[in-house]
Symmetry: C2
C-alpha cells in the first residue's frame, strides 16, 4: 500500500494531463500551484522515483539533457480517482502569518496598525491584478481534465475579499482607537 498524500495527488493530476519531467513539474508548483500547494525539485524528484517504483507512473528518457518524462499508468489513474473521490481534504489554512498578526493590532499605535493594513490591502490588490491578468489572457482552458479556471476564480474572489476586509479593518482600527482614547491620539506601539 502506497502513501496517499495531497502531494502525490498533485503529481498524479498533473502528469495525467500530459507527461512531464520533474523539471516541468517544479515550474508548475512554482507558478500555477504556488498559492495552493508548493514543492521544490528536491522533493519532487525522489517522489517521482518512488511513485514509479509503486507502479503509478511510467518513465522514459526523453530528448537530450538526460530529461526523464513521467506519464500516468492505469494504477496511477485509479489512485488519482481514489484520492479525489474517497478521501476528504486535509485541513485548510492553518498557517496565515498576516491574519495571525491581525489579532495583535491593538498593541500597535493607530498609525502602525494602519500601515500594516494598508500594506496588506496593496499586497492583495496586487495579487488580484495578477490573477485577473491570468484570467484575461485566455485563462486556463479546460482540456484534458484540467479545470484550472475553477481554482483561479477562487483566487480572484479570495484576493478581492481580502482587499475589502483590509478596507473594513482600517475603519475598524480607527473606531477602536476612538473608543479607547475618547480624548484623542498619540501613543506608541506596544
Amino acid at each position: 500500500m502506497s502513501r496517499r498524500t495531497p502531494f502525490r495527488g498533485a503529481l498524479l493530476g498533473l502528469v495525467a494531463r500530459k507527461p512531464m519531467s520533474g523539471y516541468d513539474l517544479a515550474k508548475v508548483f512554482d507558478s500555477t500551484l504556488a498559492n495552493v500547494w508548493s514543492a521544490k525539485h528536491s522533493q519532487i524528484y525522489p517522489e517521482l522515483a518512488s511513485m514509479h517504483e509503486d507502479g503509478l507512473l511510467e518513465m522514459r528518457e526523453a530528448g537530450s539533457r538526460r530529461r526523464k518524462e513521467y506519464a500516468i499508468t492505469d494504477r496511477g489513474r485509479e489512485e488519482l480517482a481514489h484520492w479525489l473521490t474517497e478521501t476528504l481534504p486535509t485541513a485548510g489554512i492553518v498557517r496565515n502569518d498576516a491574519l495571525l498578526r491581525s489579532f495583535f493590532l491593538g498593541y500597535l499605535s493607530l498609525e502602525d496598525a494602519q500601515e500594516f493594513l494598508r500594506r496588506e490591502r496593496e499586497r492583495h490588490a496586487h495579487q488580484l491584478e495578477v490573477y485577473r491578468a491570468d484570467m484575461a489572457s485566455g485563462g486556463p482552458g479546460a482540456e484534458d481534465g484540467w479545470t484550472g479556471g475553477i481554482p483561479l476564480e477562487a483566487g480572484i474572489r479570495y484576493e478581492r475579499m481580502m482587499v475589502d476586509w483590509a478596507e473594513w479593518a482600517l475603519d475598524e482600527v480607527a473606531r477602536l482607537d476612538r473608543e479607547r482614547t475618547p480624548a484623542g491620539r498619540a501613543r506608541r506601539s506596544v
Copy 2:
C-alpha cells in the same frame, strides 16, 4: 540574537494579553487560532522554555499541579513590536488541499465533481455558522491589545466567499460538462 518566527510572535502576543501556561496556550492554538496558526503542546513547551532563556518571558510556578505561568517581559514586548512592525508576513496560503483538488475536477464524472463541490459548500457553510455564533456571543472584545474581532471578520468573509464560490463552481462544472459532451451524459470518473 534569538529566532524571529510567527510562532514566537503568536506566543508573545498571547502572553502579552495575560500571563498563561503552556496548557492554556495549547487550548488557544487549538480553538481561536486553529484556522490561522496551529501548534501542539509538544511544540509549545520547549519554545516557552527557550523564550524564557532568551529573556522574552518570565515564569512563575502557579497553583498546584506544577502549573507554570509565563508573562511577557520588556524585552519580549520589544520583540513583539519588532515582529509586528519591522518584518513582513511570510507567504500566505501555500497548502490548500481542497483547492488543489479543484484543479482536477475534470477527471471526475459530473456527478462526482458535483458531490465534491456540494461537500465543500456544506463544510464552509458550517464553518460560517460557527464563526457567526462566535461573533454573536459577544464576540472577541478589544481589551488588552486583543483585536480578535478583526481576524474573525476575515474568517466570516472567507467562509461566505467559499460558499459562493462553490455555488458558482457547481454551475461551472455543469457548463463545462455540457460543452464537453454536447450530446449528453454518462461517463465515469478518470
